[in-house]
């Protein structure tokens, strides 16, 4: 089932939690809502679920306007960060609760519960109470409770946030696999960009209640439409500094007080003034002893596969990734080579990208 949000708006008192959200989700698509805490992700999700009434705008499932439809009649399943299992019911009762409300037969309930428990590997837990389960098991049960209804839309609200790091990674791929196998249209809310990038077909980035971008993860990473997206997506985060653009004969150059960079002819801002914000990711800066750009290493953070070097050029802080085998130490001076084919340019006032629009 495809889902459309049109001009969706929600206010809490004077504060606008969600502002004119427009989104077009295709049938079977896995969409992530990504944004910092408090940007309106949960509010949007709860409006889609029918828990909150929108102040304005439309929610359309397929070709049905569902603004006034009760949550129970929307045929959705939802998984919460807090799991929200019914503590006084056994796992089995939790899973079949929706079927019980629909007055399905005992036999049918057992059959369906078996099917779902098989999908999620929770067959042995059915008799237990939620309080006797680990976090990961509880989240599986919650997923089972959502799946048993054969929903046309699955909603996830930061389902993995309360799990430890390793479990998060296994659950991540498991949810993704289930979603793909069952082909259920899904909306997945998260503030973790890695989760959004690895799981989603398309990512909707939100900030202060507004939709910033809606595109596939790779495009989000490679072609950030705003400085906010560039900052939020990618780990470690992108470096930014102010530069002045000037033409030098055939070439364009970017002047910073401490250094000058040659621009790539295929990557020159198509609009904007002379003063721009240049962005470059840590992984796009190489260490080159012959380079004129000299930086002092302040801190070395071992990340395992790479070392993250926090460096300083004059009063400009910049972070780069280096091979741990090179054994850099704080206090060392290094030369930096910035890959001009990876530069991003942003308008210093509007923060809009000057390359992608």
């Amino acid at each position: 089932m495809d889902v459309k949000l049109k001009n969706l708006t929600k206010k809490f008192g004077a504060e606008t939690a969600v502002d004119k959200m427009n989104l077009d989700i295709k049938d079977g698509e896995f969409v992530a809502f990504l944004g910092p805490s408090g940007c309106g992700k949960t509010t949007t999700l709860l409006m889609t679920a029918g828990i909150y009434k929108p102040d304005n705008g439309e929610i359309i499932f397929g070709d049905r306007l569902v603004n006034k439809v009760q949550p129970k009649d929307r045929n959705i399943g939802m998984v919460f960060q807090s799991y929200a299992l019914y503590p006084h019911m056994s796992v089995y009762e939790n899973i079949v609760f929706s079927m019980k409300l629909q007055k399905k037969s005992k036999k049918e309930m057992m059959l369906e519960a078996d099917r779902v428990a098989g999908l999620l590997g929770i067959g042995t837990l059915l008799k237990r109470k939620p309080g006797q389960l680990s976090g990961g098991q509880q989240q599986r049960v919650a997923l089972g409770r959502a799946l048993i209804k054969k929903p046309e839309l699955l909603l996830f609200d930061e389902p993995l946030s309360n799990l430890d790091a390793r479990l998060r990674i296994t659950m991540r791929s498991e949810i993704k696999r289930l979603q793909r196998d069952l082909g259920i249209t899904s909306i997945y809310v998260t503030h973790d960009q890695v989760e959004a990038m690895t799981m989603a077909d398309r990512v909707a980035v939100m900030k202060d209640g507004k939709l910033q971008a809606f595109m596939p993860p790779v495009e989000l990473h490679e072609k950030p439409r705003t400085k906010f997206i560039a900052q939020f997506v990618g780990n470690p985060p992108m470096n930014f500094f102010d530069v002045e653009l000037k033409s030098e004969g055939q070439n364009m150059q970017a002047f910073h007080s401490k250094f000058t960079l040659n621009l790539d002819s295929g990557r020159i801002p198509g609009r904007g003034g002379k003063n721009v914000v240049l962005g470059i990711r840590p992984e796009d800066i190489a260490i080159d002893p012959s380079s004129d750009i000299k930086a002092e290493i302040l801190i070395v953070e071992p990340l395992g596969r790479d070392d993250l070097l926090q460096c300083r050029i004059g009063d400009l802080d910049i972070s780069i990734l280096a091979d741990p085998k090179e054994k850099h130490r704080s206090g060392d001076m290094i030369g930096l080579d910035m890959d001009s084919r990876s530069f991003q340019f942003f308008d210093p006032e509007s923060d809009q990208s000057l390359l992608w629009y």
Binding site: I51, A84, P87
Partner: protein, 289 residues
């Protein structure tokens, strides 16, 4: 190491004994004196002051038919009070905790103020209300002046502020997500209240029911004032009559026996609900959810 620990337990038990001794001795005296002619300290004695004097005559009041009617009255009062308070408080508490309606804040603060009023100040006003109800055809016979129903009604009203606040507090502690999950699973608001929310606040219901039951069981002022049977209305008024009868000298043995008799249901009730009551203090029934 082990020794230290034992010393510690010993010390805490000793401290507890010292602090609870007056209460325990009090109850011990109560118990002994109900079966004695007289007591000398904790020692049962006969009329001549010698050890002994065991008797059952203090319990003779149990043979009177009146006492059973009075007990029934008291039981009805306490039970209906408890049921009424539980039902209304849990509904009102849910609404106040979950529904955002106009005047919600005012209602809450007014309820709190009402709770601060001693019921004595309201006696005369309540009298007029009850007289008014008495004039309504069918209701009058059930809830009017000089009916158990009327006393129950008033007692419920006086107990509600406490009950509503207590219930609201417990509902506040239940996660919103639980309710949202239930709504998505297909519950109506009512069903969600009954099947999902109420089970989460069982400890609160247990606490409120024991408070209410005890209040009803031992209430004196309201039944004494609004039931014309006076002394014969409920146990507390009966006890009061025993204490203040000016013809005979006060018979402490009988008084103690009636007091003990009045205590039994409370103890029973407590032993049934304590499982839930204890959970209030040990962090609720959530168990990781």
């Amino acid at each position: 190491m082990k020794l230290k620990r034992d010393n510690f337990t010993l010390l805490s038990v000793l401290t507890l004994i010292i602090f609870t001794a007056p209460i325990i001795l009090g109850y011990l005296w109560l118990f002994i004196s109900t079966f004695s002619e007289r007591t000398y300290g904790l020692k049962p004695v006969d009329v001549d002051g010698n050890l002994g004097g065991f008797t059952l005559k203090n319990w003779a009041f149990l043979a009177e038919p009146d006492i059973w009617l009075i007990t029934l009255n008291t039981f009805l009062l306490a039970t209906f009070l408890t049921m009424g308070v539980l039902l209304i408080s849990s509904l009102a508490g849910y609404a106040l905790s979950r529904v955002n309606f106009r005047g919600r804040k005012t209602f809450l603060s007014m309820t709190l103020i009402l709770h601060a009023f001693p019921s004595v100040t309201l006696l005369i006003a309540i009298y007029f209300v009850l007289r008014f109800i008495s004039d309504i055809p069918l209701l009058g016979a059930l809830f009017g002046y000089n009916t158990i129903g009327g006393v129950v009604l008033i007692s419920i009203a006086l107990q509600l502020p406490l009950g509503i606040w207590l219930m609201k507090g417990f509902f506040d502690g239940v996660s919103w997500d639980l309710e949202r999950a239930a709504l998505i699973d297909g519950c109506s608001r009512w069903r969600c209240w009954w099947q999902i929310m109420v089970p989460q606040i069982k400890p609160g219901l247990a606490a409120l029911s024991i408070f209410s039951f005890m209040t009803g069981w031992s209430s004196f002022l309201i039944p004494y004032t609004f039931l014309t049977k006076g002394n014969k209305a409920v146990l507390s008024t009966y006890l009061n009559a025993m204490m203040s009868s000016d013809t005979v000298s006060i018979q402490y043995g009988i008084l103690a026996a009636i007091g003990l008799f009045q205590l039994i249901p409370i103890l029973l009730f407590y032993s049934f609900t304590q499982k839930y009551l204890m959970k209030i203090f040990s962090g609720g029934s959530h168990g990781g959810v």
